[in-house]
Assembly symmetry: C2
Homo-oligomer: 292 residues x 2
């Protein structure tokens, strides 16, 4: 099987900032779309274009060849997959279940095992690129699971961005957590550096002109840096979600015998920010702890 | 005055991995070159092309309109500028003194003050870009001092890369230390992330394909990352020199009231590496502490 518009029925659970536009791309590519979301209002745009509403994940699963989820926290994933009205008890044999939530590799493996015992095909496929990447269909999708299952769904992934098969079940999550660990250290470096620069009285534009293309250069320095300097802490990616991701990363790191001290420090700093009322700001608000 | 080939006599002190090629570019651009170095052998290439050798900094200074230094540690700078056979006691009134060593903003201001009282013009002008940037004349040069003095020497800087006037005396050093602080956090993030990835069993190429162009992307992930994964710790930039720079950064950060905890952690990790015999490896050897 290869996913094809007009043939493959796609069920999509989780129409938030990320899932909303992602489901929209799948629908516009010509796939029959089935949707479920805790808040029905978020599905209105998709329903107006002909998507079918379902009252629970089980009903959606029964009507779909591919079931995609992107739902927030691990407990939400557990509910949606293993709950009474969950996917795994309802999906027809041979169906694909694809969790695109950032989650733990261990939970991804657990879903894959449960899926296999029910003759379902599971992929973990978390993304990077943020809400803008979701809107522009420019997400980077990191996929764990059987290679053949990845190949079958590649046309579907292509409607949302570009996908790379990272390996066995859980490896999509491993790649995503690697990404979050790299971001943690980098955003700490950028925050401290710009805190230093502002205290020293340097001019932000001139500074970035000198340092952004060399060894200190990073996507975060280039894009989050100017927002830090301008005191713009509006969320692109929420601090509260990053704390969740860093928790997953540290948990998995511990299992792998890695002492990720930098990541632990960054999580601690973000928790401090969350405790003082900044959980709903963007991750660039780490700069609050370093600016003059 | 504007520096011009055929008119401006340039004295260059410190013909190491960085200074050697930098002086070479100045000479090839047509400037009369005077050289001094602790080890005379390193000047041979320049002397063969017609540079004049001097037995000490004072002799070089007396023969030069612009005196450039790039010499290693703050104590070396002190000796070269303030010592018995130093630059400041010998340079003719109106001459330019330009320290391109990575140094402390406080020492840069001290040199600028001493220069001013002797009717000399001082700039601090540290660089980024490494030995490769020096060889290719693609350095980023961050300059502190009087704007008019920067403008006068801009043609000289242009032979080595591109220069930006960052502000008053010491501001070139401030910009460089900002750069080093950003590198510290970023290289920690990259090291921990790739340590996680390798322990998880991810494929390095596929991983970088997924994450190097997004928010986790950085020059270090792209260039140092593959060397980390390959176990290639050959020096581009020495750990022992980075420890020096991070010490300068933390000293200056403390003066500015900044608690640079990430930078402090990274310095501590590098010191641990230096104490166990890795001081002469490249900074990407931080990965030793995180790989499986």
């Amino acid at each position: 099987m290869t996913a094809r518009p007009g043939h493959t029925r796609v069920g999509f659970i989780g129409l938030g900032l990320m899932g909303g536009p992602m489901a929209g791309h799948i629908q516009r590519a010509g796939f029959e779309l089935h949707v479920y979301n805790r808040t029905r209002a978020k599905a209105e745009e998709h329903l107006a274009r002909g998507a079918q509403w379902h009252a629970d994940p089980a009903s959606l699963a029964r009507a779909s060849d591919v079931i995609i989820t992107i739902v927030g926290f691990p407990k939400d994933i557990e509910e949606v997959y293993f709950g009474d009205a969950g996917i795994l008890g309802a999906a027809p044999p041979g169906a694909y279940v694809v969790d695109m939530t950032t989650s733990s590799p261990a939970l991804a493996r657990r879903i894959a095992d449960a899926a296999k015992s029910r003759s379902l095909r599971a992929l973990d496929a978390p993304v990077t690129g943020g809400d803008v990447g979701a809107q522009r269909a420019q997400l980077s999708i990191m996929v764990g699971g059987e290679r053949a299952d990845f190949d079958a769904l590649e046309p579907l992934f292509r409607t949302m961005g570009s996908a790379v098969h990272q390996g066995a079940p859980g490896f999509g999550q491993h790649a995503k957590l690697t990404n979050q660990i790299a971001i943690a250290g980098t955003i700490l470096g950028v925050s401290e550096a710009l805190g230093y620069a502002m205290r020293a009285g340097l001019d932000g534009d001139k500074l970035l002109q000198s340092i952004s293309r060399g060894a200190a250069g990073s996507s975060l320095l280039l894009h989050a840096g100017p927002r830090m300097l301008a005191g713009d802490f509006a969320p692109g990616f929420y601090i509260k979600h990053f704390i969740k991701d860093l928790g997953l990363a540290l948990e998995s790191a511990t299992e792998l015998g890695l002492d990720a001290r930098g990541t632990a420090l960054v999580k601690e700093l973000y928790e401090k920010l969350a405790q003082t009322g900044h959980a709903d700001e963007g991750t660039q608000a780490l700069f609050r702890l370093f600016r003059p």
